[in-house]
Structure formats: C-alpha cells, structure tokens
C-alpha cells in the first residue's frame, strides 16, 4: 500500500518554510488564509531528540502547532503524542514565566518574582566564594532530563569542581554496566529495520530510549519478516504486538538468556569467526580451564560446559514460561544468523538486584549469533551517535566527590544519586545545589529522605531549581529559574536511532525569527515568553560573573573564540561547534550558500554518517582489552570474581527470595503518552492517561476477594499506598504492576494549588515521629480542574526504600510487596512511609558492597561522568 498519493506531502518541503500558506483549520470550510514560518527544533519530552517543526503565524508570532521535521534523519518527520503536546506546555497557564525567589521558610511553597540580574549576582557570588575557598565538592549540578549532549560536563570542568550528578542510577545504570563490561559501549544500537529477529527486553513500541525512532524501525523490520520476541512480565503494548511474548518472572531473564546461549552453543549455531577474531577467548578459556592449552575448540567446549547448568528446564522453573516457548525463542534467534537486533535499557535490568547481568547476557547472545555491528544486528551505541566538541577545552578536575561516587561502589556506572540524602551531612554539606529538570522528591525512591535533605539549610546551602514546570522538588528551592521548553532553548543532541549518526539542533524559535527580522538580543530570555531562559546561556553568564577578574581561571574558557577577551555569545558558541567539529557540515552549508550555523538554524538536523557497521574490524572496542570480553578481569580485580562471566544473580524479587504471600510489584512501566514527571502541564496527554491502577491477575484478585471497585493496599518494606485494581489477564499470577508516571500531588498553598490544575491531587501531608502520611483532601480523587477526569493516580515511588545494587549502583526498582484488601479507614490515594525502616533498608543494602582493596577508587578504563584527573582516582 502506497502510504501517500504522489501529490500529497506529509510535510512542507524546506524551500517553503519561510512562507507557508494554508487554510485556517478553525474557520474551515471558510477559506481563511494563514501564513506561517516554519522553524525546526528538537523535542524536549524524552531523550530521543526527534525533530519538530514549529509553525509560527506570520501575523501574530504565535506558535500554531508542532509537527515532525521531515529532514531529521532519526525521526524522519514523524513524532509521538508527546511532540504535539509541546503546544500544551508552552501555553500552560501554570508554567513558570519569571525567575522566582523563596519567601518564608524553605519548602513553604511561597515565592516572589525577581530579576535575572539579582539571581546572577547572588549565585555568581556564592559560586565565586566556593571556588575561591576551594570547596570544590560543595557545588553540585544534578540533572534529570539532560536534553543536551555533554555541554554541562564541560562547564563544570571549567569550575574545577567534581559536581556532576545525574538521575542515571534510577534509570539505566545497570544495563549500561552490563553492556560496558562485555563490549565497552554503554548501550546498544540495534539495526531494527534490517533485523531477522528483534529481541526486546523493553517496550520500544510504546516508550523508552528511543521510542518513536525505534518503533518506526522495528515496525519496518517486522513488516519485512523479522520475528519479534518480547520478554516482559507485563503484557505491554509491545508484547501485545510480538510474535512471541515471554512473560518471564522478574529476575529470571538472565537465566533465560543464558539458556538460549547454551542452546546456541550446543546446536553449533554461533558465529565462530567473530568469537575467534574479536573475543578474549584465550583469557576466558584460561579462567574456565586454567590448565588447558590455548585452543579455540577447547574454548568452545569449556564454554558449553560452563553454561551446561543453564538448561531450559531451569529457565522454565525460574521464569514460569513454558519450555516450548523458550525453545521457540532460541530457534528464532538461532535462525536470525547475524541479524539479531536486541535491546534492554530499563525493564529487568533496572528492576532487579543483579539486573546489570541481564544486559551482559543479552549482549552475549548478540556476540554468539555474530550480530555485533552487522547490518540487522546490534552495535555499540557510540558508533551511531555523534558528539561534537565545543570550543571549551578545560582540563579535568583534580578532586573526587564522595557524595557522587562513594568509595564502596567502585564499579557504579553513575553517581550514587539515590543515596545523596544519606551522604550529605552537616559536616560535608552541598553549598550550591542546582537541580535541573529533576524531581527526586517524587521520582526517586525514599522521597521523604529528599524532603528532609532539601529542607535542611545546613546540608543544602542554596538550592536552585532549573525547571520549565512546577514539581514536588522545586517547592524546596531557594530560587526557581524558568528554563525553556523545546522551542525556547539551544541544545545539540544525537541519539543512536539506527546505523548512522546525526545531530539535531534545538533552538529558541522566537529569538531565531526575530533576529532573522533584524532585531538583536543579548539573551534568549528577552525573546522568549515571559523571561524564560536557557541553561547554556545562563551558565555561560554565571561562570563569567563568578570569576570577575579572571583570577580563578574560569573566565578564560568563556571568552569568544572570535573576539579575544570578550564574553562568548550563544551564536558564537554554536558557530564554533558547527564550523569546527561536525565533519561535512561546513561543506553542506557552503553548497547552499549558508554558514554552518545558518544551515543548522534552517534545517535543525544534519546527517553525519550513514550505514555504519562493523567498526570493531577497524578499531578496538572500549573494553580494557579492546576485545569482546566474555570473561571480565575487571570483575575479578574489583572483588567480584563470581561475576567474572555472564551469570545469573538471584534477584531480590526472585521466586526463591519472596516470603510466603509476597508478590512482586513492577513499578517502572511507562505509557506512550506521558513524560516521566513532566506531563503535568499537558492536558492532551493527561486526558488520555490520568490513572495508574494496580495491574493484577484475576486469580490474585479473587484470592483477595477484590473487584475493580474495591481498594487495595500495597505494602512495601517501608510503607504502603492505596489504590484500585485493574484486573487483567495481561499479567501473570503473583505479579502486580503500576505505571510510574502518575500520582502527582500538592499541598494547599503550593504553587500548583490553582483552579486550573488537572494533573495533581490536593493532599494533606502529616508527619508523626518517623511516619509520614499523605491523604487526599475532599472528594475521592480531589482533582479535576480543567479536565473532565477526576483522577490523577497514586504516588508509589515514595513508599519504596533505596535498593542500590552493590555492583552497578543501580537502584533496583522492583518491590516485594504484600497486597491486601484496604484496611478500615483507608481511602483512595492514602500513602504512608516509615523513615526509620527506610534507613534500615538503606543500611542493609549498603552493607553488601565491597570497597576496593587497591589504591584506586575505580577502574581507570571505566567511563565516568566528568572524568577527573587520574590523581583524583588515588585513594592514598
């Protein structure tokens, strides 16, 4: 079926972007002409960085709509529901339009408008004092949604601080470690469109990194005959589209994958050449059979022998999935030859203790089938992502911040951010804390610990929330600084959507258009709605002012490369990047008679490479040996010799680990229509998704004697929450699930406490001793506002303790819970948390770590955000 007749186009071609005429939709069928200017930018509503095209009305400057940018190589003109939802966000009556400063006590929810000048003066002074006094671990930038590729890391280096914190340990650290250990890249880039078998331990047909671009290509692959296998305990929409759904018990995934690996080995359906030429088989053999001669066949025999315990019987027992289905999966994988495209990002990797081994085992299958880097196979992401350099080239910092990387987590892929409330003390405070599109009070486990931390001025000296929207964390800020949404800021992004590489350019469309018309702006906030700014310019300005005389050595980094001694402008910053570090871009621009910057402003994206395959044949992998590491000496060297090979680790929610009557709560799944904790300002998204009932199998519901009208109480280790069930055959008996997006709340008097609110429940928050409670005020659901719906979900994460994996550092999200009928007096949305118990769980999990025995804090080869100088790695 031809998707469109020839004369119909799905987007106006670029030559019409300066003047696009069409008819007003609202006036139709009256033919009322409208003229738009179309400006490309990239979406900010997940990390995919899909291209958007803003239709700006020539007459009044209003943004009529956002559609896909047809020349963007990743998203190819198409976007998901979150793209057009940008229109809601920029027009949201609750959005923050001006810089605000706290009034009254911290956390009281009262703010007053201040000027950017006042903000910059206060914060640059504070930063200056910290840098002057060499308090280089007291400045911290904590990022939720980055939306950019690394520019903040460079800025932090110019300050000389070790202060980059991220959300990654509640997100994807585990999978990153698994992938890194085996092939050196921290994530996969599957070539879905050309695959013969697509194996997903994710839900890429509805969410995830990178939902829209990947869903496009998975669908193409399946259309061309690829088999789709999905491993997920819950029937996700993706699993529902699969040829084979494997509803594996949480924590059993590694065993299942290794049973398939064993099957490939025993049936001889593995790629001998790849293993022989590119894997560290001699070291692996030496580990498995120390006395054996270095012989490849011997290695294969040893490997078979090593994995002999991973039988389909064992896999069936652990996973609850019948052997026939597992064997079917194994056969499809074997038949795919070297065209196995697979992905795990969060899912089982983030859910389970030891989840990082899931990614390693999955990558093992990629290696065994010979699909590493092939057409239709799976490459390391770095091959398909292009990260340009900026003009800044600061040296690495020479300090190590134990608030970020405590020494007992030497292999933690990322900052141990969920533990921050336990790590920051009055004696070792954070003086200046920037939270950026980040809402740990709500998103993180143990949110009450965050409330205590952020309320404590002795531990957090000054909290600056950089955010486009109100959230539960911004209430605890001293300054709330409005940062732009997709069409209001500059960023470069690149994501590994397929076997090529591209960059996308986010830009503040109002500034771009008005400057095109001849106006000049010093700062983006002057052209944006209200005084909404962008981080890049803000941090340039802040850095410049924090070093007024250049004596700290910061200022020189922010000098213009074109006008020596003067402060760099945002145009110069990007001009330098596009002219100097994006191969092919200056030439492409020249062909059209444009400068590189003008080219990017016009098209919003540039394809840097295409058809990138098999780079391992040309350059070493980023593992310590440069080879595929089946055996990892790093694991041995850092005290985890039992994890030196891909192996199954018993999850904290494995069937064997549960108490009688306990169920597993899968609390991580996402919906295609919500944006983590940033959907609250999009009425179209909330209209489609506004509740998160508890998915439960009919057998379990009937055991509890519960109907869909009853309330259930889900008891975690530290508290409980009360909600209604969604009784479904889409989840196995013994497992319950709840979507993580919903359950936003505010207290009376908080900034969100307005009549327009349609996304957040009004609650009473009380604290008695160690016990915190939330109860909805008023009606059952207590919300409503603009919308026709009355629910907004139930907040579950705050009832979870921290579960740091002792190796990857990842917060292990799944919960062993007791699900009961509600108790007398329970009401929908009730939440209770015991802080004392939360601390006990933290101490228990932390006791499982193994601090380094050598002189280093961490393997030097292992990637780290804002990598410090080698000297900082030394413990003594």
């Amino acid at each position: 079926m031809k998707y469109l007749p020839d004369q119909i186009t799905s987007a106006p071609p670029p030559e019409h972007w300066d003047h696009w005429e069409e008819y007003d939709a609202k006036a139709w069928p009256e033919r009322k002409k409208r003229v738009y200017r179309l400006v490309p930018t990239i979406c900010f509503n997940c990390e995919s960085a899909c291209g958007l095209l803003a239709y700006v009305d020539k007459e009044n400057g209003e943004v009529k709509r956002f559609e896909g940018n047809p020349v963007h190589p990743g998203s190819r003109g198409r976007v998901c529901a979150k793209g057009p939802a940008t229109h809601n966000q920029i027009n949201d009556p609750q959005r923050i339009l001006y810089p605000l400063k706290r009034v009254g006590e911290r956390g009281g929810g009262k703010f007053e408008r201040v000027s950017w000048e006042e903000v910059l003066e206060a914060l640059s002074g504070r930063l200056n004092r910290a840098l002057t006094e060499k308090r280089l671990t007291e400045v911290m930038y904590h990022v939720g949604r980055p939306g950019h590729d690394g520019t903040m890391e460079t800025i932090l280096k110019t300050w000389g601080v070790d202060g980059h914190n991220s959300h990654t340990n509640v997100c994807s650290s585990a999978a990153r470690l698994g992938y890194t250990v085996m092939c050196g890249g921290d994530r996969p880039s599957p070539d879905f469109a050309n695959a013969k078998c697509v194996l997903l331990l994710s839900s890429h047909l509805e969410t995830g990194h990178y939902f829209n671009p990947h869903a496009q290509r998975i669908t193409e692959g399946v259309h061309d005959g690829a088999k789709l296998i999905v491993m997920d305990p819950r029937l996700s929409n993706t699993a529902a589209k699969a040829h084979l759904w494997l509803p594996t018990w949480p924590g059993s995934e590694t065993t299942v994958l290794l049973a398939i690996a064993h099957h490939l080995l025993t049936t001889g359906k593995f790629d001998e050449a790849l293993l022989r030429d590119y894997a560290n088989w001699p070291e692996t053999l030496k580990h498995l059979e120390p006395d054996a001669p270095e012989d490849f066949d011997r290695f294969i025999a040893a490997l078979k022998n090593h994995y002999a315990e991973y039988t389909f019987d064992r896999a069936e027992k652990e996973s609850g999935v019948g052997k026939t289905k597992l064997l079917q999966a194994a056969e499809w994988i074997a038949e795919s030859g070297d065209q196995l495209a697979s992905h795990v990002w969060r899912g089982p990797a983030t859910g389970n203790l030891g989840g990082w081994q899931v990614a390693r085992a999955l990558e093992f299958l990629v290696v065994l089938t010979g699909s590493l880097g092939t057409k239709g196979g799976t490459s390391p992401a770095g091959w398909h992502k292009f990260k340009p350099k900026t003009h800044l080239s600061p040296p690495p910092q020479e300090v190590w911040n134990e608030h970020l990387y405590p020494r007992d987590y030497p292999l933690a892929m990322h900052e141990m951010s969920p533990l921050l409330p336990y790590l920051v003390t009055e004696d070792e405070p954070v003086d200046l804390y920037f939270s950026r599109v980040f809402n740990p009070v709500w998103t993180y486990p143990d949110g009450t610990a965050w409330i205590e931390l952020l309320s404590d001025e002795k531990r957090i000296g000054c909290h600056v929330a950089l955010t486009p929207t109100w959230n539960e964390t911004a209430r605890y800020a001293d300054y709330v600084l409005p940062m732009g949404l997709s069409p209001e800021r500059h960023d470069i992004m690149s994501t590994e959507t397929h076997a090529g590489a591209w960059i996308g350019f986010r830009q503040p469309i109002h500034r771009v258009l008005r400057e095109r018309d001849g106006e000049k702006f010093e700062y983006t906030w002057q052209a944006n709605p209200g005084e909404v700014w962008e981080e890049e310019e803000f941090f340039h300005e802040l850095s410049w002012r924090a070093d007024p005389d250049g004596s700290l050595g910061v200022r020189k980094h922010f000098e213009s490369p074109y006008r020596p001694g003067e402060k760099i402008t945002i145009d110069e910053h990007y001009r330098w990047i596009f002219e100097n570090s994006v191969p092919g871009l200056p030439e492409a621009a020249q062909k059209e008679g444009l400068t590189a910057l003008a080219y990017m402003r016009r098209y919003g994206a540039f394809e840097v490479k295409r058809d990138v395959y098999k780079l391992h044949e040309r350059e070493p992998l980023k593992t310590p040996s440069g080879k595929i590491e089946i055996f990892s000496s790093t694991m041995v060297d850092w005290g985890w010799s039992e994890q030196s090979m891909p192996a199954s680790i018993e999850s904290h929610v494995a069937k064997t680990a549960l108490e009688p009557g306990q169920m597993v709560l899968v609390p991580t799944f996402r919906l295609p229509t919500l944006i983590h904790s940033r959907s609250a300002n999009s009425q179209w998204l909330y209209e489609i998704s506004h509740k998160n009932p508890l998915w439960i199998h009919p057998e379990d519901a009937s055991r509890l004697d519960a109907t869909e009208n009853d309330l259930l109480r889900v008891e975690t280790e530290i508290g409980y929450f009360v909600l209604r069930p969604f009784i479904t055959e889409g989840i196995p008996p013994g497992i319950v699930a709840c979507s993580h997006h919903l359950g936003r709340w505010h207290r009376a008097g908080d900034p969100e406490d307005t009549p327009e609110n349609f996304s957040s429940a009004l609650v009473d928050q009380t604290v008695e001793g160690d016990v915190w409670r939330w109860r909805r005020v008023g009606e059952d659901a207590g919300d409503g506002g603009l919308g026709w719906w009355s629910e907004s979900g139930v907040h579950q994460n705050i009832t979870f303790p921290v579960h740091p994996d002792p190796i990857s550092g990842m917060h292990c999200w799944h919960q062993a819970v007791f699900v009961r009928r509600s108790q007398p007096g329970d009401r929908f949305g009730d939440i209770a948390v015991d802080r004392k118990k939360a601390r006990e769980v933290y101490e228990k999990w932390r006791s499982w770590t193994r601090p380094p025995t050598g002189d280093l804090r961490r393997p030097l080869w292992l990637a780290r955000h804002v990598k410090p100088a080698e000297s900082a790695y030394r413990l003594h």
Partner: protein, 466 residues
Amino acid sequence: MRWGFVLDQDSCIGCHACTVACKQENEVPLGAFRTWVKWIEHGQFPETSRSAAVLRCNHCEDAPCIEICPTVALHKRPDGIVDLDHSRCIGCASCLQACPYDAIYIDPDEGTAAKCHFCAHRMEVDLAPACVSVCPVQAINVVDLDDPDIRTELGERKAVVRKPDRGTKPQTFYLGVDPLALDPLAVDGTRTMSHAQVPDPMPAPGNAEARAVYDVPRARPWGNKIAAYMVTKAVASGALIAAVLQFWGAGVDAGFDRAFALLALAMNAVTMFLLISDLHKPARFWYLLTKGNQKSWLVRGGYVLGAHAAVSLLWALRPFDPPTDGIPVGAFIFSVFTILVALATSAYTAFLFWQARGRELWAEDRSLMLVLIVQAFAAGSAVSWYAGDRSPIWALAYLAVTIFAHFLKPTTEAARQAHRYMVHHPAYWGGVLLAVTAIFYPPLVLGAFAFLDWVYVKAGQEVALS
C-alpha cells in the same frame, strides 16, 4: 479523485499520536475526539491478546449524517470527503444519532457539530492530514479510491470496514485489524481501563468476548427534552383530533372543539419550544427554513408542525358552525385534512427516528409508526375525557400496541441489546403500569407516554456505537 483512509492495524502501535496531533491541528476541546484509539483485551493468560483500532469518521459513501442534517451543514465533497460547515449547523445533534460510528460530537465551546473532515483544509494545499503526518509507523494511509490498483490491493489484503451491514459504504478501510476491536457489541466497556477513566460507560453487552482497556467517553445527545417533545406532540395531535371529533359530535355547545384546538396550538408551541431549546444553537432555528435539507425529517417535521399549528389555529378561530343537518362538503374535507395533519404530526417522528441510522432500536423499529398513530388517538381520547367522552378504547389500543411492540423481535443485535436495556428499566414497567391503569382512567395514558417515550429515547442511546 476520491479520498479514503486505509488504517493498517498491523503496523499501528496504538500510541495516540494521531489523537493528540488531531487535537492540536483542529483545536479539538477536552472531552471530544475526532480520532481516537480503542484498546481491547481478550484471552486468558498467557495467551492474552491486546489490540488497538483507530476509530474516526468513515467518510461514508452513503452517509446517514448528511441525510439527516437539517441545514446541509454536513455535505459530501466531490473528492469524497464528508465535510461539515459549522456556520450552517444549528446543533440539533441528529447527526450524532444518525452516525453508526460515534464519529461526531458537539463542540462544547461552539455549540456546533464537529468531526474528522480528512483535514480538508490541509488536503487542499496538498498536505496530508495531521494524523497521517504524525504517525510514527505510517499506519494511517491516504489513498485515492478511484485508483483501480488501490481497489485491487484492498481486496487482496482483505480490507474490512466497520459495520458494513449498516449500508453506509464506509470509505475508511482497515487492514490486519482484530475484528473484535471494530465490534462494539462484543466488547465490555464498563470495566476499569488501564490508564483512563470512562465516566458513564455504555452498558456491557450480555455476551462480551473482550473488554476495553482504553476508550473515550460517549455521548447520549438526546435527553428529557426529546422525550417530552414526543409527549407534547402526541397531545398536540390528539387534541386536534379531539377538536374535530367534538365538532362533529355532541359537545359543541360547550365549545370543547375550540378549547381543544387551542390546546393543540398551545402544545404545538410547547413542542416547538422544546425542539428549539434542545438545539445547541437555538438562535439559528430559522436555518431550518432558510437552509433546509428537504430530505431531513427534521425539516419535513418542521413543515408538518407548521401545518399543524396553522390548522389548529383555524379550528380555534372556526369561521363556520357545526352542521345541524347534512354534512357540508367543505367542512368535511377540511376535517379529514385536519385529521391527516394531526396524524402526520404524531407519526412523522417515526421517519425521523428511522433516519437516525446509528441508533438501531429506533432505526430498525417496525412498530414505531403504529405506536405513534395510536398515541395520537389515545392522547385525543385522554383529552376528550374532559369533554365527557370516557371511552377506554384508545387506552386499550395503546396497551395493545405496547404489548405488540414488546414482543416484536428486534432485527439486529444492537437493537436487541437496546431493547433488552429498555425492558429491564424500571421506567418501562412504570409506563406499562400506567398504560394498564389508563384503561380505567384514560388521561393517565399521557403518563404512560412520558415513561415509555423517555425510556425509549434513552435506551436507543445505551448501546455503544464504537
């Protein structure tokens, strides 16, 4: 060139991008949808199935909404698109009843109907509809149905349409769709949805094979005013019949014929008032005359009501006396004409309800005309009771046709479900009880109408169309 949609459910991932893109493009208000995704679930774990269908206007070749639209707001363009001119729309919501697919809504801000118009405003500048442009997996295709290759391919790929039995000839085709997702009569929409509320869902069908896990709210556009209109109109017809009978009968001295004619006129006014006040754009009621669609039974009904008002007025002003001997031909002919007008006033509603092709309880109701005619006589009889005519015969007749209608087997599944809903409703039995009592006290038959017409209007709308 004749445009059609081909919705490829094999590719569709049910992500709702089309829904949101459409909302943005067409400024669709909260609570209304021009296109939406329905998700259903069936089967037992682990052989569970969940599937989606994108639902919207079918741009039918034989579009019932166009036929019923009283003001030609809905119209078919030469390129096959069923478009809607909101500037002509009076907000009568009859198109919502005629459409078998739930594709039309009343815009709460504008008071006019709205629906998918194939983004005609974009198609005219050669730009694909917003839902097509946005779709991540290109599951929404635009095709030229005049292209024979397309026709062949649709056949080869076994494309299906929604409710082909409604005879609307939909021009929106589905590939690879789960048939249950297109069959609202097989899906229980009353269960908890996975991430949304559906306030006031349609009752569950008795033999649901699947349950909805995501769906959007449904409208029941006609309520008390339409039920009341049926009653007042029956009285208006009945009173006019009673006036004529009084004229020829005994009670003329008492002036009952004039009084009844005046009553008919008054009830006609109340009926008109109810109809106009039920419009979402009442100030545009005169469009029925100036922009009338002569095929619409709203317009034709308007003429009938106009004739009724005129005849009633003539009877009230009666320039001639009753005959004392013999039968004057003029008076006799006028009387017959009046009776016919009175019956038409009551009975035309059957044509209107039959034109509401989406509501099968009404559209497939073979007894409706009979019931309405008997209603008119029974109402006349109720009115005549005050003139001393205390015959129970029409009350009895009404009870008889009610029983007849009760046992008349509905011809379609949707009609059966609606009928089942109706006869299980307490209002229905309240109405039947009153109909029985009316045999002893005929004026009570009006109460029976009130109950039975109300439950009939309601039940017709208690079956999910999509």
